[in-house]
Symmetry: C2
Subunit: 309 residues, 2 copies
């Protein structure tokens, strides 16, 4: 049995995987990230001990504990170099957690863990290689090749959201201009929706905005109700999603591209046009294309992937 | 001993590698690509036989023959699916070449072979992972991770020149708009140089163009002589080179980025500003950056890489 812990800015979610890769039990506790890091890590340790008990074993009998963390973990030292979400810098996570957990502790980025989870047990199961893209507040990614996460010689790779696709375009939080994240994240969709509502004050989109703050789903709803302004926003947004995905196909040609994040609840409504754009835009038109699938494990992906580190 | 053959649109270059990875001998013959493909492959066969003799052995005693081919080879069938340079479509290269060569024949893309050569014996020797970018007529690439070429499940990956960096920009030969190749190839540099000469008829660049057709070196020469128009072109061109390289660093964080192609003869004059842009633009600023080096093997890279397939 292996334990996986998905450390998030809001919650710490953990679960136990049996040797067949099934999730036996899971539990989530609040992170309360403004506390000193030692308290957060203390709670992670207790959670792991409790999870082992829930699965009918003890913490010293599990094979390993894997942690998926936001930000940039350094796999070799076991430190979190930097996490904006947690407000952590150079936190010795594996060392501290080792005070509570007497088995090997492994560490990777949360997006990489989610990709590994979908690869091993979710949407890309059975594929030899997969790139997962998560369209959320940002655009995150994970690259899994032959069963192994690729994150480069310094653990900092896989930042596919920070591939510039509009050189000189919208300023990204990372400092560059025109990153994919600035055009294909939910944040970007809302920005584009607000711009369109400003330009089209009589649109359904604008009237919806008078009742609620715009969010991604509202914009999709307005488009599906036939609002021209919203439709144009969604068309442009899907274009940008597809622009980055086509880049990834040309670079990796993975067996599967897994689309994750809240926006992917739209399913075929976004996947079908993306598939079409990729087929038209891909460099080599003589070969089969990667499978284009939406994530199936939801929040469990991160737990399962962490357990499999 | 292993033989490597670099099949080009103009020449077929081959060489013999000993077990220490040293190039014992090499020979080049014209491709004469407008002939039927069977004649070209016949000459490749004879070249391999001759190379074995030159190295003091016979063709049935070499371990393997590797071929680096332009276009899209299908590694499993041994066919060239498509090559624009050779005018080939669905050519059974390995099968035909097998009529002359009684040892295993391996096949990959020429850019991938060059990357493998630089990885094993050139600029990235000793690194665990490398991405090579060749700035020539187009922008080619090769990705080597843990000693293996990554070209995806369908052999068509590694097309890093067809990563859009200027969405909606200049039309690329592949059909998309704004590919890196359309901004960072020698062809793009010459286009930008001609545009600048048009706009600045009194510049050194414009007067150089009256004597010769512009090429990449002339533009660099004019810039180094202080011509403002040429300087602006080179500054913009290096920016676009760096934009794509920063993307690749964020995605792969390879231990080395190898810069190849004629333009890299400019050495530090281009590598230093690229290094600076990457350091400023990279997503994760808390970790070491990849080594940024120029290719050292020249045309031998493709032969050596092919031999090592």
């Amino acid at each position: 049995m292996r334990i996986g812990i998905d450390l998030g800015g809001t919650n710490i979610a953990g679960g136990v995987l049996n040797d067949s890769g099934e999730l036996l039990c899971a539990k989530s506790i609040p992170t309360d990230a403004q506390r000193p890091y030692s308290e957060v890590i203390h709670d992670m340790g207790l959670l792991a001990v409790e999870l082992a008990q829930m699965a009918g074993t003890s913490i010293d009998s599990v094979e390993s504990v894997g942690v998926g963390s936001p930000g940039t973990p350094h796999k070799e030292t076991g430190n979190i170099l930097y996490s904006n979400n947690l407000g952590w810098e150079n936190v010795p996570l594996v060392q501290e957690l080792g005070r509570y957990i007497p088995v090997p502790i492994r560490l990777d980025n949360d997006a990489n863990c989610a990709a590994l989870g979908e690869y091993a047990a979710g949407a890309a199961k059975g594929c030899r290689s997969a790139v997962m893209v998560t369209f959320g507040t940002g655009v995150g990614g994970g690259i899994v090749l032959d069963g192994k996460i690729h994150s480069g010689f310094n653990s900092a790779g896989g930042e596919i959201g920070h591939m510039v696709i509009v050189s000189g375009g919208v300023r990204c939080t990372c400092g560059r201009k025109g990153c994919w994240e600035s055009y294909a994240s939910a944040t970007a969709l809302i920005r584009m929706g607000n711009d369109a509502a400003d330009r089209n004050p009589r649109s359904l989109l604008a009237s919806m905005r008078q009742r609620d703050r715009l969010n991604g789903r509202l914009i999709f709803d307005a488009a599906q109700k036939g609002d021209a302004a919203a439709n144009q926003v969604i068309k442009g947004y899907i274009w940008y999603m597809a622009e980055g995905i086509t880049n990834l196909v040309n670079i990796f040609q993975p067996e599967a591209i897994v689309l994750g994040g809240g926006i992917c609840a739209q399913g075929d409504y976004i996947v079908n046009p993306i598939r079409e754009y990729v087929a038209q835009g891909v460099f080599c038109k003589q070969v089969a294309l990667p499978r284009m699938v939406t994530a199936t494990l939801g929040n469990d992906a991160g737990i399962i992937g962490a357990a499999l580190l």
